[in-house]
Amino acid sequence: MKVKVRLFGFLAEEAGKREISVEAETAGDALEAAKSVISIPRSVRIAVNEEYAPSKRALRSGDVVSLIPPVAGG
């Protein structure tokens, strides 16, 4: 299934884009597929539709995956 993957922080900076499209069935698949575009450290977390989600989370049509680098707000 084709899935939109949003990039943030240094991931977006290094990829030179804020969004890519990958083939994936789970959230973890999407992260792995994004590695063809950008190096992704293990500290990066995954969100699906604006909520943190585990790698094994099955994706449904229209889901948006976001790759969340270590946060530094506050």
Binding site: F10, E13, E50, A72, G73, G74
Partner: protein, 140 residues
């Protein structure tokens, strides 16, 4: 959405007075406000300015969840969480949290909880500028 929770992400300067007003309630005797500000050095390095960026819609969603958890856990009557994004100068506030409670112990504990959870959970990133370049803070 809840009348006793106000959350925002803005490019404009934050105000502790706005936070206080947002959480003031006639039955609350104590309001605790925390402001996190841009320091002139971090990990031994002199900082000239910083830039925050956020995944705004998700961050606001996290703020609301954080607010709801703290309100329940500490019996808070009202909660405020604001984070700034964009370029900030030294001394400016990057985050302001506030909690109001009938009693002060809960106001302090609740406000502390807010800032700890915001720092841990909110999808917000920080670039520090030094003399010659910049770094992404917490980049693993």
């Amino acid at each position: 959405m809840n009348a006793n929770t106000r959350v925002l992400i803005t490019r404009r300067p934050l105000s502790v007075e706005a936070a206080r007003r947002a959480v003031a309630r006639p039955d609350c005797g104590g309001i605790c406000v925390f402001a996190g500000t841009v320091r002139n050095r971090n990990e031994g390095r002199r900082v000239s300015k910083i830039r925050y960026s956020a995944f705004e819609s998700m961050a606001l969603r996290q703020f609301r969840a954080i607010a709801a958890e703290a309100r329940k856990k500490f019996g808070l009557r009202a909660v405020y969480i604001a984070h700034r994004v964009g370029l900030l100068k030294l001394g400016e506030a990057s985050v302001v949290c506030a909690a109001a409670s009938p009693h002060r112990a809960e106001a302090f504990a609740g406000c502390r909880r807010l800032i700890e959870r915001v720092k841990k959970l909110a999808p917000i990133w920080k670039e520090e500028f030094h003399g010659r370049g910049k770094t992404w803070v917490n980049r693993a």
